[in-house]
Symmetry: C2
DNA sequence: TAATATATTGATTGGCCATTCAATATATTA
DNA sequence: TAATATATTGAATGGCCAATCAATATATTA
């Protein structure tokens, strides 16, 4: 049990270090040596706990993706109405804890970038996006006629995405507030009967 | 005159090759040697015509940015009304010639990526974005009360951006049509008196 | 304790890359 | 034509990186 525990700890430490370095220096600066030193380990150790650099990065990204989903779920009350669900998605997407800190925001950017070249990360990235959209659809389909669902869902998702990337990495709380407001107004304009 | 001409030609050829390679292989694959071979030249020649790789890439991106602006301007009639201007921006953003071909779409993605690390490209990227937004603002401010301009402009820009990146690199004409429709509906919802 | 597994290190390897450079070819000019 | 500038090549340079490996330390087990 103890051996497993050390292995798990080291892997977590390395994933955290990877996220920190990638966020601060970008993907090109995130070399194995730098990540290892950041985690307080020697260069060679990374390949002892991860099969390859690609595996390390992919797993780090996955943990980021999971954090995001949890943040959103935490914002909605238990057994939420469709409107509350949408509200949590809009608010959660611009929550300070995942866009407010430059590190996290930059990390999302690097996540998308890595998805361009690494097949494994590409898959994870698409999965993350698909879950996000399907979350929106689950709520919208309960609020509008079936033939309007697709366009409304895609519009909401695109609008959130657009703000998400727009100033990527340099958000003030003020910008986030603004993004929330504009996105929510869009939701209200498209879906009659929702308010504030 | 002849010497200048050759220099200009080679530089253009190299910039085209750079765009092609970056679009196909992504930034990591775009080495000097590969770009040179793509342009039918030997490896060493690139540094004869460009100070550095960074300069080559930055100028290639600039030409992409200019092409985009020209595409949009070409879509609007001479002396357009504000509504026609907006329409050209929406249609132009999803015009087949700059998102329909995988190469061009992927190139935009790589443009944004490079902006994360290269200061020169970062500047160019922000400039491109600022011009785009200011283009929208020019039209919107003639159509709605002053205190509504900012939110509407940012909403339109974000929505277009969102679609722009969403499926980046893998657009069907059908997707583009859809994006146009959803964006234009948003414009119409926000700005009374616009139609079609 | 002895034996075995795991953790950790830092040097080494082999590969890739941007850039430089000397050498050669091809124009331009006087 | 001779002299000079420009174009082009391909090999060499020096640096960086992921991954490997032998060596050492530390824990686990019998």
């Amino acid at each position: 049990m103890a051996k497993r525990s050390i292995k798990a700890m080291r892997r977590d430490e390395l994933m955290d270090a990877a996220i920190a370095v990638i966020a601060e220096e970008g993907m090109p600066g995130a070399t194995m040596a730098v990540i290892a030193r950041r985690a307080g380990m020697s260069a060679g150790l990374v390949n002892h706990y991860f099969e390859s650099k690609e595996e390390l990065i992919a797993l780090a990204m996955r943990s980021l993706s999971n954090l995001f989903r949890q943040d959103i779920m935490r914002l909605a009350p238990a057994d939420p109405t469709p409107a509350q669900r949408l509200r949590a998605i809009v608010d959660g997407s611009f929550a300070p804890q995942h866009l407010g800190t430059p590190k996290r925001a930059a990390m999302w950017m690097q996540f998308m970038i890595a998805a361009q070249t690494e097949p494994r990360i590409k898959h994870l990235y698409h999965l993350t996006g698909a879950r996000f959209v399907s979350n929106i659809r689950y709520a919208v389909r309960r609020l509008v006629p079936a033939d309007q669902v697709d366009d409304i869902v895609d519009g909401i998702a695109a609008l959130i995405d657009g703000f998400f990337w727009q100033n990527a990495g340099e958000y003030e709380e003020e910008d986030l507030e603004r993004a929330r407001r504009i996105c929510w107004r869009y939701v209200c304009l498209q879906i009659p009967g929702i308010e504030l």
